[in-house]
Subunit: 239 residues, 2 copies
């Protein structure tokens, strides 16, 4: 299978993804949150790409079954039920709920890739499960790093590299593009202590400044769940 | 000084560059060609972002003073005087000439960054000269990797990394963004034999398939000239 990595969500047309298999990564913190929410019993996560649309569809929904969640530039949006900390998405809060989810980078990346044939969300938490699944699927795929405000970020690229390396342990049938190769190279020296690594990235530093150090600890855990968020008809559900 | 690296030319608005200092890199082959042409006596290189515009301004110009040059998807365009091989830009061909220059990635990147306060073109050939100049200039700057068809490519990222490492040998006053850090990491294992490295990239392989192996040899040479192409009033000239 051929693997390509896109280092930003912003520069591709939605139609680029038509018929493709795609893994979206936004380690800090959107794909970690989506994985956590589904692992803790949320019925679905509905990623949206604009705040207006988040407000609109939450207004239409039954309030008690729906939570309006996410962040804009790291902070919870006024009127939202939850922010973008995986630690907030506890079973007693999210079980059975539909989560409308808006974030600066991650939810937009998923919406951008909505025409994909298969669309999965990967974080460190479910990385081994994704690696297994992609190996079984055995199809060419694209990894979309959400990045930060349209720019490259190191944590998503390194997560992509670790995912590729895990897949290579499971199969020899892997061909890498330049960007996939680059991701593997970038991950090589950054896998020993993921918490330290994440804390030293631009985004990690900003999260720590804003009091989210515990989130980084959570996002740095590898393989805590087998949940694979899968996009179908506008929502992410457990595969 | 702060250094940031953009891994593609496509996703930024022209206004992003307003007032910024920018170094454009397209190792294979546009910035190598521009450097070579100016080193060999070309009066100026006029980068254009569309074939139509290249045709239009070449029609207006005095034919004997002007060469219409470049490529589309590796191949010379019909009716053009020269392609995108640095070896074609010999002194007897280009001395005194205005070169209208269209390429798939590199010339577009320069045009995209046209509102920059300072805009330079870097290749391996003039990398030490650029490193010296950026150190003396001592300003925050952005490195634009032209990439390939809007996508990341490894050779421009590695060139950016080597440029940053050279600057760090000259000054301690350097702060790196995630992408700048990533470029340095990517360059670390790729500097021993640049010809072998370039030949193994996606773009390098495609050039070899199309018979341009000698170009790669030329593009892999570090520090063969002190020429610094500088953008002023729509054209690149020797600084």
């Amino acid at each position: 299978m051929k693997i390509n990595v896109l280092f930003s969500n912003i520069f591709l047309d939605e139609l680029y993804f038509t018929g493709k298999t795609v893994v979206v990564i936004d380690v800090l913190r959107a794909t970690t949150v989506i994985t956590t929410a589904l692992a803790n019993g949320a019925r679905e996560v509905i990623p949206v790409s604009t705040l207006d649309f988040a407000m609109k569809i939450s207004g239409d929904a039954f309030r008690s079954q729906t939570l309006l969640c996410g962040e804009r530039n790291t902070k919870m949006v006024e009127g939202f039920n939850l922010g973008n900390s995986p630690l907030e998405y506890r079973p007693e809060v999210v079980a059975g709920k539909s989560i409308i989810f808006y974030t600066t980078n991650g939810s937009k990346s998923i919406v951008k890739a909505k025409f994909s044939k298969n669309l999965f969300a990967c974080s460190f938490n479910n990385l081994p499960a994704i690696a297994n699944h992609m190996t079984l699927l055995n199809e060419d795929f694209e990894i979309v790093c959400a990045g930060t405000n349209g720019m490259f970020n190191l944590e998503d690229a390194v997560c992509a590299g670790i995912l590729i390396s895990e897949i290579r342990k499971l199969t020899d049938n892997v061909q890498l593009s330049d960007s996939a190769n680059a991701s593997v190279i970038l991950s090589t020296n950054n896998t020993k202590n993921l918490f330290n690594f994440l804390s030293a990235t631009e985004h990690g530093k900003m999260l720590i400044e804003n009091g989210f150090e515990d989130d980084i600890l959570e996002c740095a855990k590898i393989g805590t769940t087998d949940v694979i968020p899968y996009y179908v008809s506008g929502t992410m559900k457990r595969l």
